[in-house]
Homo-oligomer: 375 residues x 2
Amino acid sequence: MSKFGKMNESSRESIAATSMKAIEDAGISPGEIDASFYSNAFGVTESQLHIGPLINSAIGIPDKPSLSVESACSSSSAALNEAYAHIAAGLEEICLVAGGEKLSHLGTMSATTYFAMGSDFRYEAANGVTFPGLYASMAVAHMKKFGTTQDMLASVAIKNHDNALKNPLAHLHKKLTREAYMESPVVAYPFHLYDCCPFSDGAAAVVVASEERARKIRDEVVDIAASERAGTTATLQDREDLTSIAGAALAGSRAYKAAHIGPEDIDVAEVHDCFTIAEIMATEDLRFFEKGEGGRAVQDGTTCIGGKLPVNPSGGLKAKGHPVSATGTAQIHELYEQLLGKAGDRQVEGAEIGLAHNVGATGGSCSVHILKRRR
Amino acid sequence: MSKFGKMNESSRESIAATSMKAIEDAGISPGEIDASFYSNAFGVTESQLHIGPLINSAIGIPDKPSLSVESACSSSSAALNEAYAHIAAGLEEICLVAGGEKLSHLGTMSATTYFAMGSDFRYEAANGVTFPGLYASMAVAHMKKFGTTQDMLASVAIKNHDNALKNPLAHLHKKLTREAYMESPVVAYPFHLYDCCPFSDGAAAVVVASEERARKIRDEVVDIAASERAGTTATLQDREDLTSIAGAALAGSRAYKAAHIGPEDIDVAEVHDCFTIAEIMATEDLRFFEKGEGGRAVQDGTTCIGGKLPVNPSGGLKAKGHPVSATGTAQIHELYEQLLGKAGDRQVEGAEIGLAHNVGATGGSCSVHILKRRR
């Protein structure tokens, strides 16, 4: 994973460089890669689509097949699911999955508009509601139905800022106080500025191999115990319940089933906290907590590093940053480090099973991966 | 497949409508689809990314996973390869693959610029060369090395315009004479206007099922005997030979091997003729003809309907049209009709094995599919 934040490199450069880091870390040569799966959802803002052949050429494997997978903010976890399918089918033995984004050359308004193209533009953005407003609607519904409070939202932000201080690659390295949170401008009620993840540049890459091949390459590996995806209606207006993301709950259920475990077996989770309410909803949709109890769990420290179930030890999208197409693979990067005991100051002690939850838009696309340390 | 040409519908509408046609033709209900793979490479020009949940919602399956696959002009054949992998892995039983594009709302200059984002923008387009110029360079190299003539290029265009006259869904319904070809403006030497495919709107969809499931649904099916992809260097400047597309030749070889057949077994082929030279190169890369003989083969009628090996009976990109993300699935649609004897006036008699060759950009991404009529 690259440093998240503002970078001078183009996406093609950061994805290629980060891919090379992953390849070196995996202990393989680029030529051993059979196929590449890339994500760069907003490449058009850099005048570049069809980024696969560029990256493959840059890393010295122009003859290998590549493609771009787009699924809004869940693009690179969807790409990982594609690599998983190819390997499960026996069509490929080693795949590269990498995502990256550059957003800092866009202003906030322009970036917000491009992001809104991930929603149902005609029915949502064109009528004036962009992602902060959509997630704020979900937050209001959650507050009304379950008594979730502004202080609970603040607790998510404060925890994730604290975690990011322990992550050298995180975008935001800034201790957040409850006072600073409350004093920050309101973006869309109930969201203050600090309820919202930043626009970040960055890239993250993962090398995936068949079990047989992985065993030959190295001892230190992480197993993909489940790779599941599901969807939800594109627009909020079509949903009966705004306090849950049905596709995330469905992908989670399928993932637990595929991995033969339950939510109680998860030691560490990276969840999609594009806004503070999203983390609370995620921890409920994934059945870590009863519905309506997610806010209390963060408030009482259950989800902090050292708590019963650490959530977003990386700092999450909220503070690690959210370079859209890098987010899915960056979550996998964090779990990889956690499960192999390489997470430094933010290490979750004894973590053996991790879960990554990545959401595209307001949940039109949802991915859940469960990773296990090989024993 | 929708009518290609100028359409008033947005991509989301045409892809959804065409998907429903494919679902009905397949004899299934939408709810039987396990996952959807969409392509809409230039969706950003309609302010819409993340089109999967929109289409899935429109056809009544919002809970099913979806994603967008982009691989420039080979997007939807790459999407088909993803569906193929998921089914081969046993992860899914029935998948929907659909691609569509709307380009007519862009002017020619704007469309050319967006297309150029499929090349290596920094090293190619930013220096002034867009696709007509890139393929013209390949044509000049081919003419110089093999003696390919302007008349041979014209023969490709004339044949494909003739074929399109027999295809009610084709974009261009216009008999092309050798005189009209020569009198048309030069776009980039040696290309006249009629060497270049048009900008088209349209959509095409395919339903893919596991063998076991397909047998239960209906008797009339087409087998995917091979689904292979490969790449070539992103830029022309990095290639030793401009007269062949290495990735297409590689994907073709792999496809023949996977299908346990050779080029001599192909009864009908849909190849990527974005420019006339591209069809000639394709027929050589796929080993239908010796290298350098592709031009003569079209000139002497070998590749016309009724010839020894009909190429692009649909009219090809050249005359059927080229709505970028619809092209890969539209080629499959044509083979499906040909192999089931439903191609009407353009039927290739006795066709039992067909090949589809789809190229992204100048060959950075190449897909080859071999389909067989089930006997």
